[in-house]
């Protein structure tokens, strides 16, 4: 897709939604959808474009959420700088984990395992450390003012997360058009061949990890402001790691809109399952797991991949018809 037009169009359409939708339930649904779309776009940068599959992206989500919350609650920092600090902290954690794992040359399953382990270590630490409130968690005080990054109206929250998603779309778009992006994709396709062409694979992967972590951390910061409560399970639990990878894989890994499309589908499937079989624990995730296996089995390039395939097929057909 060339140019910024599709992104602008999507953002405009999405921004108009709260003007027609009034129901808080629907708005809440959309906010949480955009939340996992944002977290997923973070994963997409490292996993979709970079081919490094992280199973522990909650490490960044949770760091963003906790730093944002703790700075406000324990150090009296204003919500806006706390938000920014949360993103920076997430990026920093990404840099550390990336430096360690990529320096050690870990790829594939080993990389997935190690990222899983890091997320679990953080979860355990957060569940016992006094600064996070340990098992009880951290509660942000309700303060419905712009200065506290809290809003009476759901719609405003919606526009905030939409703005963040828009930025993440632009980042992915830029990635596809820069040298860094070309190098990242090359490393994904074949790291050795890329190195032979002068690509510093370590730096490129590390850079992708930092960007990826920052974006997913932003989702965590938003979570803290929206729900006003963070604990170790929410922050660093496997659920967020799974949702972060699920949305781009289903929507289309390595594409700009993949995570957004995937988030809509995942949430819709979740709601559908609840509607059919009731609100039972674990049901959503059963559906997600099945969908993951089915998508990998039948449509590894995700929904967008299916459409691209059809489009290419159509083009090829037209070309043949024209020359035939």
């Amino acid at each position: 897709m060339k140019g910024l037009a599709p992104i602008l169009a999507a953002i405009v359409v999405l921004a108009a939604v709260p003007l027609v939708v009034e129901s808080n339930t629907t708005l809440n649904f959309l906010v949480t959808t955009l939340l996992i779309a944002l977290a997923g776009q973070g994963w997409n940068i490292l996993g979709g474009y970079g081919g490094q599959y992280s199973f522990g992206h909650a490490a960044f989500f949770g760091t963003g959420a906790y730093v944002t919350a703790i700075l406000q609650v324990r150090f009296g920092v204003n919500a806006w700088p706390a938000f920014a600090a949360g993103i920076a902290a997430g990026a920093f954690v990404g840099a550390v984990i990336g430096a360690l794992t990529f320096r050690a040359g870990l790829r594939g399953s080993y990389f997935a395992l190690v990222t899983l382990a890091f997320a679990e270590v953080l979860r355990i630490l957060a569940s016992v450390a006094p600064i996070t409130g340990a098992g009880v968690g951290t509660l942000i005080k309700l303060d419905l003012h712009v200065s506290a990054l809290q809003f009476q109206s759901r719609a405003v929250f919606y526009w905030v997360i939409l703005a963040l998603v828009a930025v993440s779309l632009l980042i992915a778009h830029a990635l596809e058009r820069t040298r860094f992006g070309a190098w990242l994709i090359a490393v994904r396709e074949n790291e050795d061949a890329a190195k032979a062409l002068g690509v510093d694979a370590f730096k490129v992967k590390l850079g992708a990890m930092v960007i990826s972590a920052a974006i997913t951390a932003a989702a965590g910061c938003f979570y803290a402001q929206y729900f006003l409560f963070v604990d170790s399970g929410i922050a660093y639990g496997t659920r967020m790691s799974i949702e972060a990878l699920l949305t781009p894989i289903i929507g289309g890994a390595g594409t700009v809109f993949g995570p957004l499309v995937g988030a809509l589908l995942v949430k819709a499937l979740g709601e559908g399952a609840t509607w059919i079989a009731g609100d039972a624990p674990g049901l959503n995730l059963i559906v997600y797991g099945c969908v993951l296996v089915l998508v990998i089995g039948f449509a590894p390039r995700g929904v967008i991949g299916i459409f691209r395939g059809l489009y290419r097929g159509l083009l090829a057909g037209k070309r043949e018809a024209a020359h035939g």
Partner: protein, 248 residues
């Protein structure tokens, strides 16, 4: 310009109990084509891996363009102008032919438009002009070999290491690609090529090194090497030189 662009000095590489490369010394004179031949398993590709930085030698040094590069990682050698093709071709499968070449071009061109344009030129030079928009994984073997070449060329190398770039090509395809290689040399690129297609290597190279069981067993002009007794024995077995009535 340094007379010997590349100098490999006493380089050895061991894998467990196997000494794959045994105290090899050779040189590639600037602006010339140097051949590297030898029976299968002789260690030629290992040597290329050592020169391009994918393996570290257990002993010895590698000098390039006046600098000792033995400790440099592959991407930095590429930046200094050493490019290689892989014996088992490795296209970036999900990308188009042009995008593949662009990755190489990006080494010298930061902007995407410039890199794409440069990739276009290189692609045409190598004979892939009509296929630039195709996905790389739809190319034939010959096409993939050209793509390997194009990608390496896009990095604007001074030294080009070709690892069996003719393998798997039929005689027509070979006849088409040999002039391309010769033109590269005319442009000033130093080439070292591993080949089994004797005719091509002997007609392209000005100097040939013969590697067998990790050691250099002969070197010289193609004619000298072809008549060398040790070389004949390495390929045809012990006593073959005598039987053939030849040998230096």
């Amino acid at each position: 310009m340094v007379e010997r662009l590349l100098a490999v000095e006493g380089v050895s590489r061991r894998f467990g109990g196997l000494l794959a490369v045994d105290t090899v010394s050779l040189a590639a004179p600037a602006g010339r084509i140097t051949g590297l031949i030898g029976p299968n398993g002789a260690g030629k590709t290992t040597l290329f891996a050592l020169i391009s930085g994918f393996l570290a030698p257990n002993a010895g040094a590698i000098r390039y363009d006046g600098e000792t590069i033995t400790a440099l990682p592959p991407h930095q050698r590429a930046r200094r102008g050493i490019a290689r093709t892989f014996q088992v071709v490795q296209p970036f499968a999900g990308l188009s032919v042009r995008e593949n070449i662009t990755v190489g071009a990006h080494l010298r061109h930061r902007g995407r438009a410039e890199a794409l344009a440069a990739a276009d030129l290189v692609g045409r030079e190598v004979g892939l002009g009509g296929l630039l928009d195709r996905p790389a994984d739809t190319l034939t073997v010959a096409g993939r070999k050209r793509l390997e070449l194009a990608r390496a060329l896009a990095t604007e190398p001074k030294l080009l290491l070709l690892d069996e770039v003719l393998a798997g090509l039929n005689p027509t395809e070979i006849r088409e690609i040999v002039p391309v290689i010769r033109r590269l040399c005319d442009r000033g690129i130093t080439i070292m090529m591993i080949e089994h297609v004797m005719q091509a290597v002997m007609s392209l190279s000005e100097h040939v090194f013969v590697l067998a069981e990790g050691r250099i067993i002969a070197e010289g002009t193609p004619a000298e090497v072809a008549a060398d007794r040790a070389v004949i024995e390495a390929y045809l077995g012990h006593g073959a030189a005598k039987k053939l009535g030849g040998g230096a």
